[in-house]
């Protein structure tokens, strides 16, 4: 596969856990900083689960409100990213349970709600599009989590309540599909 020759360097989600503790002390600046650090990843993760931009935006905003609600309960154990994205995951799961809106939709209908037009770069857009078209939900979730957060597969397995081997397998299988799909682009 060929990619445009750009240097790697986009940072994975790195959240300063102290910001969450400062939010518990009603520090508005800390909240804004946390948003700057985490909002992109939270939105992308929610989007990968919900496959709809507006729903993902709602889930992202809900995540930050819940962070405010629960910041005083946060115990810094070095993994604030996992804490935040677990809240996002719970919110998205609740969204499915309450709306169940994708129960009977077809792939074509799904594609129609995936509005990726905001991503101007062709290569980035195609990569994400292939994620939606060719990966099953859990493969996509594992890859998105690994890409965005740098969480170890073991931590992703714990977060998704799956055996480690399953997560490793889903990652490898999903990546293989993507490599094949992106070949020549």
């Amino acid at each position: 596969m060929s990619f445009r020759d750009t240097a790697f360097g986009t940072k994975r989600l790195e959240v300063d856990g102290k910001l969450i503790q400062r939010i518990a002390q009603e520090d508005a600046e800390a909240f804004r900083l946390l948003y700057e650090q985490a909002a992109g990843s939270v939105f992308a993760y929610a989007f990968s689960l919900l496959r709809n931009r507006e729903d993902a935006k709602d889930a992202m905003q809900d995540t930050f409100l819940k962070i405010r609600s629960a910041a005083h309960l946060y115990q810094d154990q070095g993994k604030p990213e996992a804490w935040i994205l677990t809240i996002t995951r719970n919110i998205c799961n609740m969204h499915f349970r309450t709306q169940n809106r994708f129960a009977d939709v077809t792939v074509d209908e799904l594609r129609s709600v995936q509005d990726l037009s905001q991503i101007r770069d062709h290569e980035l857009r195609i990569t994400l599009q292939k994620c939606f078209e060719f990966l099953d939900e859990s493969e996509r979730e594992v890859i998105i989590l690994h890409a965005l957060t740098g969480l170890k597969h073991r931590e992703i397995a714990s977060m998704m309540k799956m055996p480690l081997a399953t997560v490793l397998s889903k990652y490898a299988r999903g990546m293989k599909k993507l490599r094949q799909q992106l070949e020549g682009i």
Binding site: F43, A70, L124, A147, L148, R154, T166, S169, R179
Partner: protein, 318 residues
């Protein structure tokens, strides 16, 4: 392949950055209720722990004093300087100190327990311990002419020493096997522990050395079944990897030659061996489905297209 994976991940990260909605003040101004800890959205998050600060600090101070006294003794006699992992189907881990004396022996599975049950390896030097281990493996029938391959993995922070020890042990092991079973092949590698390897090894009752080998095979062939690979004797596993184009030379030049010679032997139409063979389309023993047994039925949308014969075996290890 790793570079391609990294590039895909990079694109996902950059997409996420482009999609980020702008911050709105309403997020801070919206009234919220303080959570109590049992809310649905906190499921699976770690709850707040009690503050044990004072007793912890006291204990830490006492421990520091003890440590200062014990460090020289610990470094010389107790500290694990290197760990030697041996896998066939039995899996055994031997920790050694800087004097190459065995400080602990661990069986990673039931077969391993059988092998070490009659052995007292603690405080013996590593060469003696490995020879005793091979003797026991032969006595218990785990090594014979058909199962004459084993995996030796070495973990040591001092790379130079680790490499020397690995070469020395593998040479001794080869000589021992050549003497007692006619021919022996030792696949060897260096390994670094990490959480993924340790968890995988523990889940499947193998050492982290075999876990590394299995996981690297799964990266090339995610359609394979992790549990079945982990449960295979090294001879069978090596044969499977060889038959599917995975180069074993980094582990042992001799292994490749040996397996090639078996391939020549397999061409004999009268041969009825039961090894895994890539070209044997009717072979039901190929361990498909990389998912763990706990999750075999959750891929309802899996189209079953993963087939060892239509796989492109992409060797894009750039």
């Amino acid at each position: 392949m790793n570079r391609q994976n990294e590039r895909i991940e990079e694109n996902i990260r950059r997409s996420a950055a482009e999609m980020k909605p702008p911050y709105t003040e309403s997020l801070w101004e919206t009234r919220i209720e303080k959570a109590e800890g049992d809310e649905w959205y906190l499921d699976n998050t770690v709850s707040k722990k009690k503050n044990y600060r004072f007793p912890l600090m006291t204990l830490a101070a006492a421990a520091a004093v003890l440590l200062l006294c014990a460090i020289p003794y610990y470094s010389l006699f107790l500290r694990t300087y290197a760990t030697v992992y041996v896998d066939l189907n039995p899996s055994i881990s031997l920790s050694i100190n800087s004097r190459e004396r065995v400080t602990s022996v661990k069986a990673n599975n039931k077969d391993g327990e059988t092998v070490i049950q009659d052995l007292d390896l603690k405080n013996t030097d590593i060469n003696t311990a490995v020879n005793a281990l091979l003797g026991s493996l032969i006595r218990h029938g785990y090594i014979d002419e058909a199962h004459n391959m084993l995996l030796l993995s070495l973990e040591c922070e001092n790379r130079e020493y680790g490499n020397i020890l690995k070469e020395r042990l593998s040479k001794d092991m080869n000589a021992y096997l050549d003497t007692y079973v006619g021919k022996g092949i030792v696949l060897k590698q260096e390994v670094d522990s990490d959480d993924d390897l340790e968890d995988f090894a523990e889940d499947y009752g193998i050492t982290i050395g075999k876990a590394k080998l299995v996981l690297s095979a799964l990266l090339d062939h995610p359609e394979w079944n992790a549990q079945e690979l982990a449960g295979m004797p090294i001879s069978d596993l090596a044969r499977l990897l060889h038959d599917n184009g995975i180069d074993l030379k980094p582990y042992s030049e001799e292994a490749e030659e040996y397996l090639d010679s078996l391939d020549d032997h397999d061409d004999d139409p009268d041969d009825n061996d039961d090894h895994y063979d890539k070209d044997d389309k009717d072979d039901d023993d190929i361990p498909f489905e990389a998912d763990s047994p706990d999750d075999r039925d959750d891929d309802s949308d899996d189209d079953g297209r993963y087939d060892i014969d239509d796989d492109d075996y992409d060797d894009d290890n750039d």
